[in-house]
Every structure is written in C-alpha cells, then in structure tokens.
Amino acid sequence: MTHKNIDAALFANMVITGATHLSNNADKIDALNVFPVPDGDTGTNMNLSITSGATEVKKANKDSVSEVANAFAKGLLMGARGNSGVILSQIFRGFAKGLEGKEELDIDSFVTALDSGVNTAYKAVMKPVEGTILTVAKDTAHDAKEIAKQEKDIEIFLEKVVQAAKKSLKRTPDLLPVLKEVGVVDSGGQGLVVIYEGFLAGLKGEEVPQSQDETMDLDDLVNAEHHKLAQDYMSTDDIEFGYCTEFMVRFEEDKLKEQPYDEAKFREELSEHGDSLLVVSDDEIVKVHIHAEYPGDVFNLGQRFGSFISLKVENMREQHSKIVEPQQEKPKVKQPFGVVTVAMGTGLADLLKSLGATVVIQGGQTMNPSTQDIANAITEANAENVIVLPNNKNIVMAAEQAAELAEVNVAVVPTKTIPQGMAAMLSYNPENSLTDNKEAMAEASKHVKTGQITYAVRDTQIDGMTIENGHYMGLADGKIKVTNADQLTVIKSLLTDLIDPDEDEIVTVIRGQESSEEEAQAIIAFIEAEFEDVEIEVHQGDQPIYSYIFSVE
C-alpha cells in the first residue's frame, strides 16, 4: 500500500509504535550509555519520556496531525527524564511547531517538521556536543531534504530517512572521542534511530519493525560494558570475576525439546555466575557475554540449547596488570601563541602565569626592563605570535620598540597597571588571531579600575595635594586621590572612591611585601561591611613599593 499523505490517526499510530519499539530496546540502549555520564540510564530515561508522550497522544483529539504532534510534544515535555529525554522533548516540540495547523502530513511538511525540530533542539544548548542524539537529528533532517527531491511515496521516503539516521549514528564515534575510545555508538542517537524505525513500522501497519536492527550489535554492548567496568576497578586485586567470557550457540531442535529456551530464565541462571551479563538472541542463535570466575560452568549452561559457533575467554587480571609504555618526550616545538608580561614580586608572577602568561619579566616601577630585556623574553616565549603586556606606562615605549625588533609577530596591548594586565589575560584566547586578541584584550583592560597604595619618600606637591614624607598615598588609575599618615584611612577612602556599588561586582586585593595579615583582614572586613554585594578575592603578590594593589570591575 502506498501513501501520499499521513492522516492524524495514522500519525498517532506511528508515534505509539515508535514508543513501543523504544520500550522493547530500552535495556540495550542503557547498556550503550557511556556519555555524558556512564550510568546506563539513557534507554530508561528515553522510554519514560516517550511513554508519557504516547500516553498524551492516545488521549488527544485526532482531527489533525498538528493536534497529535502537539499532544506528543506536551507529553514529552511533562515526562522528560534525563538529558536524552529533555533533548527528545525539544526535538518534537520543534517538530510540532513545524506542523502548526497541518491536517495531514506529506513529504514536504515532514521535511519542514524535522528541520524545525533540529532548530528548536539546538537553540536550547550553549555548547552542543556533536556525536550525540543532536547530531543524528541534524543529519537526518538534512538528508531528508535531499531524499524529498527524489521520492514521491511517503513510505519509501521514510524508509530512506531511517537509513540516513542509521548512517549518521554510525558516524557518532568519529565526532565524540569517548565513543571511539570505548568502541560504541552514541546511546541517545541509537534511541532516536529506534524511534524513527518505530515510526516507519507504524506507517506500514506493523506491530514492531520486522527487520532485525544490525546497528545495535553485541560488540557495541560489550564494549560499553567493559568501559563501565574499567571505571570501577582501581587495582587488579579488585576484579571479582576474572574471565571475560563470550560464546555463540546455534539452537538445535532436539536439544530444545529437552531444554526449552527462555531468554529471561537463561539470563537469570547466568547471572548467578558473574556480572556484566549480556544476552542477545533470535530464533536461531543466542549470543552471551559475561565476566565469570568459572567460564566452564557458563559454557555448560549454553551448550544445553545447541552447538557452539564460537567461544572466547580472556583473563582480565592479566590484561589489567599490564603496564602502559611511557610516552616519549617531544622536542620543544614553537607554540602558536605566547604572552610576555612584566611584574614585580614572585606572587604576581605566579598569578599572571596562572592566567596564561608564558614569560613574566621581573620589573615595574623604579625598575623598568629595557627594550633588550623584553626582546629576550619574546624569544624565550618560543611562539609564532607574541602578545606583550607592559603593565606600566613607563614600559609601553620599550615594549613597542622590542616589538619592532622581533622576528615573530608581536602585538603590544598597552596595559598600564597590573589589574589591567590581569583583565587583559582573562580575555586572551590562543585560538583567536593576534589582531582579535589584541582588540579583545585592550577592550577588557579598559573595564577595570586600579587602586594602588604606596608611601611618599619626600615632601612634595602633586595634583594640588600636599604630601609629607612617610605618608601613605592612594592612587586611582595612576592619579593621587588621597594622602594620610594612617594607611588604613587612605585605603578606606580610596576604595570608597573606586567602588561603585551599583556597577562593580568584584574587588581583587593583591597584597604586597609590606602587607600584614591583620591589615588585610581589616581591609576585607571594611569592604564586606561597606559593599555587601561585592565579591572579594585576595592574592599574595609580594610586590615591593605598593603595599596593596586593588582591582575593581
């Protein structure tokens, strides 16, 4: 029987068959589940989600496919369980949106609905991971467009769409490394393929798909099982069942008269002998995988039903205790990107390195590195592209000159203070171009306010302020704002000046050589009391001259 269009009742039947088919395969899908968390619940979750969807469909008005699709989407949303369930609910929410107002489903509207499903599903995630159910949905929708150009019979169209979904599923290990490592296809993707197979069966009026599904073979299941187990074993002594045992038995009529085969009962018997048990059977063959301590006993149980086609036993304790060859060290290759920056004090140097700086030149106020020093550091960075952050207005010139001398590409981001340098480092991304980085880092350095606390070494007049020798000074972005004999007074006044409680979120306190624990605690207490919404970070910078540097953003 050929179809041009699918009416609401038929579409409802497709959905319900899809759910039934998934239920029948839920445990196999569970066994495949290694990503994102190898807890073996993907099939269970998808089953609970789609069952809730099918239940809504059964209750729904079946006047139009649009109503059926909306009911399915609603049920999926309410019953969504787990990652795969949430994704499934989004795919079919979009699918229903694509069918809005449609009475019947034809090839064109099917293509539109698949496409709309993918769009909705991808919108609800920040960083889509490819090689998952999302990829399978996307590839299938994409191929469906091509298939629609050639096929006019909707049954043949859907058959080809299911084939496309299976092809995409086979590619998932190429996209997601953990799948390749374990040697399985993605479990959520497998679930979606099963649903589509069910749709097709429902369209043909079959109870469940007739064709045996080759995609979900025992090897995949065994690989997933071993992977989950590998995570449980910390040492060889932990292995309770030492032999990975696999066999295949071809059923024989006369043996079955003696010993009728019942999969559930057989599984029950086998489970007494070990763990990681997998039993897959059809009318002719049963395949078994089990980790057992006495493989012989397991073989005997299998032999009651027929003759062995293949047998395999591996000693897992031997495999587990093998030591991996250490990797050879590689010669130092030129990195694509490096960052050279300037700071005084070991704490600050470590801080900048932790943010990604390659080389930190010791220097700064009263000890400016020369052009040569910076040029040497650029060479030391050993990179194709180098970004230089001077962190001091008196070093910017030298950095510019060093950049001209260098044989590699150098960009100078004219940061004038340590906090500006740190803010610039936060928006540094080695995957972007030198120009993009320079722009982003310069932009980021503008969004931070710098406070510095130091003391006067002589009497002087600056910025209309009278400063006495030995008094403390507070500078906001390089300008003297406050001076007083008492350091804490200066700090409080400077911070009040710098921090805008409505705008600023974070204050970083960098303690210098002269900072004491007591002082630092007093400063933190002050910030907490005055600006309760601001978060405080404290770092030991060990810088000389500036007893405290504050970064406000």
């Binding site: 994102p36 968390v37 369980r81 990652n83 949430v86 995630v125 936060l426 978060e535």
Partner: protein, 120 residues
C-alpha cells in the same frame, strides 16, 4: 581557599578556581543550559551571561571540614523541563569533577537565575 588531597607521594592542592572552571565547563555542555549567571543579584532583572573566564562568579565552591559543596547559578532555556535540566547538570558536573579531579562532591546546589526565551 583550596582543597588538599594527600597521596602516598605527597600533597595535591586544587584551588577553588580550578574546581569552578571545570564545573562551569561541564555545566555549559549540559543540554538546556543557555548560560552561567553571576551569583550577584541582577542589576536590572536581566541575568547577565558570563563568559568562560568568569565562571567562577557563578560557581561557588564551599568547604565544610572534609565535605565539598558547590553552588551553581545558571540560566536555562524556556520550554524545557527545568527540574530535569537542573538534575542533569547536577549529575554531569558531579561525574566530571569526580573523573577529572578524583574529588568526591557532597552536594551540588543549582540556582536558576533566569529563563531565556529564544525567538524562532
């Protein structure tokens, strides 16, 4: 603040920053999350989406004796089952931290700071 692990060969120190970065990185790969939000209450009612380098503002690591607790502030996509998305984040973050740092996490508390409607 940092977490100390003692092995037979010495100490391992993991800073909270590291834990926050890994937790945030795992969270944004979770389906249904459209962003990490700052813990701070929002200026004008619009949750600001944090960039990767600022995840630590939306991921708070607390230690109480031996126990490690994590608070995460997230923004989710409208039209998803939010309770389930939150639960997925919990299990995914927990698994990732245990796998990469060998660190047992006692609790992961999710604060939904916003729901984002995405225009079709």
């Amino acid at each position: 603040m940092s977490i100390e692990l003692t092995t037979a060969d010495g100490h391992v120190t993991i800073t909270n920053e590291v834990i926050a970065t890994i937790a945030g990185g795992a969270a944004i790969e979770c389906y249904g999350i459209v962003g990490m939000a700052s813990k701070k209450q929002l200026r004008d009612g619009i949750a600001e989406i944090l960039r990767k380098e600022n995840f630590s503002r939306g991921v708070i690591v607390r230690q109480e004796g031996e126990a490690v607790h994590i608070d995460m502030y997230i923004i989710v996509s409208y039209g998803t089952k939010i309770s389930e998305v939150a639960h997925n984040v919990q299990s995914q973050v927990k698994y990732n931290l245990e796998k990469t740092l060998g660190l047992k996490i006692n609790s992961i508390n999710i604060y939904i700071q916003g729901v984002r409607v995405i225009q079709d």
